[in-house]
Amino acid sequence: MDMFLAAVATVFEPANIAILLASTAAGIVIGAIPGLTVTMAIALAVPLTITMPLTPSLLMLLGLYGAGIYGGSISAVLINTPGTPASAATSIDGYELAKQGKALKALKMALIASFYGGLFSVVLLVVIAPQLAAFALKFGPAEICSLLIFALTIVAVLSGDTIIKGLLAAAIGMLIATIGADPMLSVPRFTFGVYDLYDGLAYIPLLIGLFAIAEMLAQAEESFTTGAKLIDIKDIDKDANRLTRDDWRRSVVPMIRSGFLGSFVGMLPGLGAAIATFLGYAEAKRASKEPERFGKGAIEGVAASESANNAVTGSAMIPMLALAIPGDPPTAILLGALLIQGVTTGPLIFVNHPDVVYTVYVALFASLAFMGMVGWLALKPIVQVLKVPKVLLYPVILAMCAAGSYAIRNSIFDVFVMVGAGLLGYALRLFGVPVAPLLIAFILCPPLEESMRQALIKSQGSLMIFLNRPISAFFLLLALAAIVFTVRRQIKSHQALPSNI
């Protein structure tokens, strides 16, 4: 208890509060800018922490982490351009709500769900970190592979007009993901001597192209008539933007469920928030009594995806602290930052450095509280972006996207990839093919291929390894069930699911 109180006292020193405030605000801004990722923000901040004591450095990095993931939802809702891959699912319903003049409502729900998801996973971290970390260790290559197949299947079957088009989008994403050196033997695939292709296509230009550039081309069909606003609202309608009892009723259960899902995904090494958010969204749609509302401005869609992605922030710390295995790229950098501070994570951290553990707990709670406060204060000013005429807004977005795509690897090639992805996204839209499964397949495929090949090597080529192991078989059964139930539901209802993903 003394250590906990000491950690609270340290975290809430005025200088530390100022650092937390600044990093939270910076995290929200960086997250909202397409192309700038949370990982990049944390990596850039690490050198600044070298000369700092442990507490302020932790506050700076954790403030950036949580707020950055939430910040991605702002541009996802307002301009259909997810600031980070973790917010890609938020744009599906968030942008529809914005088009209906309910951007403020969507952003409020995104903030509340992010706060809840973060809080839930931090509580999990505090209460059962070592036990959960031990469970995560039961996931070998076969289990990871089956989980990824399940994630891919559920996103694909629930995304489009028809199961076939959703699955086809996922297959195209898998195909694009095979470009570059293969993940196990580094054999170049489909590089055709182009040096820039050896590392494969970067997912940020692909994300920006599929969403932002495709959206710009779709908007260009109306030729950006002078004076036309992105969403034609003179003033923000206060009543329409209030969260009603009905909104809460619809959102609470998906939000709680996504908190669990996001925390679970966060614990597993190498997966991360982008996968969690699609899983949370797809599960909310699957479980809904009115799945046809999804894709047309369902507030519960925003709640589910944002709760899931922020639930990763706390739970990714569980394997990092308890086993020294980072759950996602940002926690890998945090692990390095802790090492710089002379703290070695792993099972012994609870014995050797309990003060650090308590500081991490309190810093996570404090960063969440600040994310809530800063985010809430920024809501109304942020929404004003919708009042900018489209003819001015879209070219500016294009310039920012080009800058973001270039900055990932200092490569003009990535900017061309962004444009190519934009054309692909626009073409797929025209044919009613959802782009979300393509993106999620692209993100999932490197770990999927790696785990599949590792499992097959382990079993000497026998596919039975995926069925003999209970956890693996469970996820494969779930994937099969998702396909069967969706087909049955579509046959029964004779109505198409929304297509605007």
Binding site: V187, L398, A407, V419
Partner: protein, 156 residues
């Protein structure tokens, strides 16, 4: 012909080309280093992805749904808008490395604004210059990220 069938046929043709022409280009010299140990090669996953594309493309041909948004492009003005946007975007990206971020962004924004009907120079010029300069400054000074300098290598 149903547009879904056209789309499905295109996917099938591309998938077949991928399976028959592209995958065989993956080098197989890795086998010499694998020795006698069992391993799974780099062609397995592309075969899975290509086969899935082919089968699902066939699925689209056999079960066309016809939900698409192609009708919007039948209007000449809409087509012109898309082509103009795409042309300007490609021109902008091509110019980035030559003229650098600042100059090419200013030029692209001025063109974009005027092509799509904005005529107020007191809006066009400050917006174009402001966005280009501020974006470059923020990326360079705050995020320590380089943007294309171009042949002229402007300091900002």
């Amino acid at each position: 012909m149903n547009t879904d069938r056209v789309f499905g046929t295109a996917v099938c043709i591309l998938a077949l080309l991928f399976l028959t022409l592209a995958i065989p280009t993956i080098p197989d010299d890795w086998q010499h280093t694998a020795g006698t140990y069992y391993t799974v090669g780099p062609r397995m996953f592309p075969y899975i992805a290509g086969t899935l594309c082919l089968l699902l493309g066939l699925g689209v041909i056999l079960h066309p749904e016809g939900h698409n948004k192609l009708s919007g492009l039948r209007i000449g003005k809409a087509r012109r808008g898309v082509v103009a946007s795409l042309g300007l975007t490609l021109g902008y990206v091509a110019l980035l490395e030559v003229a650098g971020f600042t100059l090419s962004t200013i030029a692209a924004l001025v063109l974009f604004f005027t092509v799509f009907g904005e005529r107020r120079w007191y809006v066009i010029v400050p917006m174009a210059v402001g966005v280009a300069v501020i974006t470059k400054f923020v990326f360079l000074k705050f995020f320590l990220l380089e943007l294309p300098a171009g042949l002229f290598d402007l300091p900002i």
